[in-house]
Subunit: 356 residues, 2 copies
């Protein structure tokens, strides 16, 4: 493998000094890019795109051709693990992900087993290797997975939900069964992320997208505990280099200090919390990743630049910041606004580090 | 008017001692009750139900017949104010509220004016008077309105939104126009709530349902500021009695201390924050209302009772707690679980106040 030419992102995650604030965008390979839509059309379906290492590699690299981003992220879906557990992931046009065989009863739960990352999930490892080769040391590659709680929501609900009725009924009425789902899922996620690291992922991120829908006590018992379990089981070094791990609980601002103690190197923040306040709360325990409201990218270029500078200024001139949105980039984002964002973050953060 | 026989709710809002923790449930007159569905069917549409004082009165009282609740809340919609501004509220079966004439450009915004509460909105005042008469002093009646920000979201988007694209574009690109919408709306809400108080509402609540979707700075500038404006303009006494005002920003836990300083008597909390921690943060500035996860009501009766006791125990034996859910009750709630909740809250809170 070629040596890494831009490791700014990895250094920032480890709270080492960097010349500027690195950035990448959640869902940066996505529908706001016409070239993505073209590949997606050629693939036939979203799932076929995910399952083809060649096409997953192609779309992973597309945003890097347009923008000076500091990291690439594996193109995949967060629900690959339950799919490999046999739940049958599918997508209906214009709707969110669904499972053909959601967890309906106790016997479904008792049958759950950790999938071999080199069995059903080998296509993900193949994509990781292929992307690493194609990146050729340009920027680091991030591997990822959904969190146990987030995966369990989909596994029990059978798809997206507005009220999480089934999974919360299970959680409150049969906590021991809920724990069983979460434990198998946490072990699966750990094995899956470790296999991604061995295949070439240089950092990993756990997306706890639905953590914020829980009550405070429930979050601690049914999400955070399994995030800790994963952090404890991850490979932290590979090929002689530290592999930083990031955790992101959307809507988790109120629990930031506990999340910062969960054993990850960095914590993702959504846009509801002032990142300067967040930095003060976590101190030097972790780096922070975030946190521009993705809706800012719908506004004028001037507003995009101004709001990006506000995030940087709020964090201040300290090590340990990776710039990102507070959630995935919207399909309705004008691509030119992303250029404005990337250039502003790089230029302004260089200025902050080297005041005239 | 008959004297009020149960003022526990009003005393708790003013942080005066009570014999037990009073409770009511957001959206307590709603689709989970078969008797509500029957009246709703008879009305023909949701909007006709809201606009008929006789039927609005009928459904307002229905949950009080079933459960020992400590307050009634006016049955109405949060979007009556923009409807009276001429935006044309309508509902399509199975979908959220929509406007026929959303705010599309600057001239639409410049034309906005404060509606006379005794003009287009007289039906609401008639409902308030009729409900007060029907309650006959049994429990207090709560009046309410949507917050300026929440109303503005609907007015600009034209309906519900998953990304608030239009309203956030306006906010970031044309803040002065956004402020104009919010200012007219805040003055309208103030006049509307004051008219409800004069018609007989004994407490009022402002629902900032979408406040939590904003970035921290934007929340302060585009929601909180107008909540403060309303608090400053409300009638605080009527008929020789204090009229407490409650504010509820869903997803506002991170901003609790600022919200507590906005000038309201009580702050509603969703279920993501521990209510004991919230009490410690707000001290004796305000009462708190909340905060059981409404999804708990999908679980077993034992789980309902246990989780309700946890909320009460977390708040502790202090004045200033009104029990509620952290959001509106779901249409899928089993009505029997509501009985368990009401009885548990009353019994357990009496026990906490008078330990054996």
């Amino acid at each position: 493998m070629s040596p890494l030419r831009n490791d700014t992102f990895l250094r920032a995650l480890l709270r080492q000094p960097t010349e500027y604030t690195p950035l990448w965008l959640m869902r940066q390979a996505g529908r706001y890019l016409p070239e993505y839509c073209a590949t997606r059309k050629r693939a036939g379906s979203f799932l076929q795109l995910c399952k083809s290492p060649a096409m997953a590699c192609e779309v992973t690299l597309q945003p890097l051709e347009r923008y000076d981003l500091d990291a690439a992220i594996l193109f995949s879906d967060i629900l690959t693990v339950p799919d490999a557990m046999g739940l049958g992931l599918y997508f209906e046009e214009g709707e969110g992900p669904k499972f053909e065989r959601p967890l309906k009863d106790e016997s479904d739960i008792r049958r759950l087993a950790v999938p071999d990352p080199h069995g059903e999930l080998q296509y993900v490892m193949d994509a990781v290797s292929e992307i690493r080769r194609a990146l050729d040391g340009r920027v680091p590659l991030i591997g990822f997975s959904g969190s146990p709680w987030t995966l369990s929501c989909y596994m029990v609900e059978g798809g997206s939900s507005s009220d999480y009725r089934k999974v919360k009924s299970l959680l409150y009425s049969r906590p021991e069964l809920m724990h069983q789902v979460l434990d198998v899922t946490a072990r699966s996620v750990t094995a899956y992320l470790n296999a991604q690291i061995q295949a070439g992922a240089q950092a990993v991120m756990v997306f706890d997208s639905w953590g914020g829908v829980m009550a405070h006590d429930a979050y601690r018992e049914f999400s955070l505990r399994y995030l800790e379990q994963i952090a404890g089981g991850l490979i932290h070094e590979h090929d002689g280099r530290r592999v930083p791990a990031i955790v992101f609980t959307k809507g988790g601002g109120l629990w930031l200090e506990s999340i910062a103690d969960a054993g990850f190197d960095a914590v993702g923040l959504d846009w509801t919390m002032d990142i300067g306040r967040a930095r003060a709360l976590v101190g030097d325990r972790v780096a922070l990743q975030g946190n521009l409201d993705p809706a800012v990218l719908f506004a004028s270029p001037e507003a995009v630049a101004e709001q990006a500078r506000r995030v940087l200024d709020s964090f201040g001139n300290h090590p340990g910041h990776v710039f990102n949105l507070g959630h995935g980039i919207s399909q309705f984002t004008p691509p030119d606004n992303v250029s404005v964002l990337v250039d502003t973050v790089h230029e302004h953060s260089r200025r902050v580090r080297n005041p005239a």
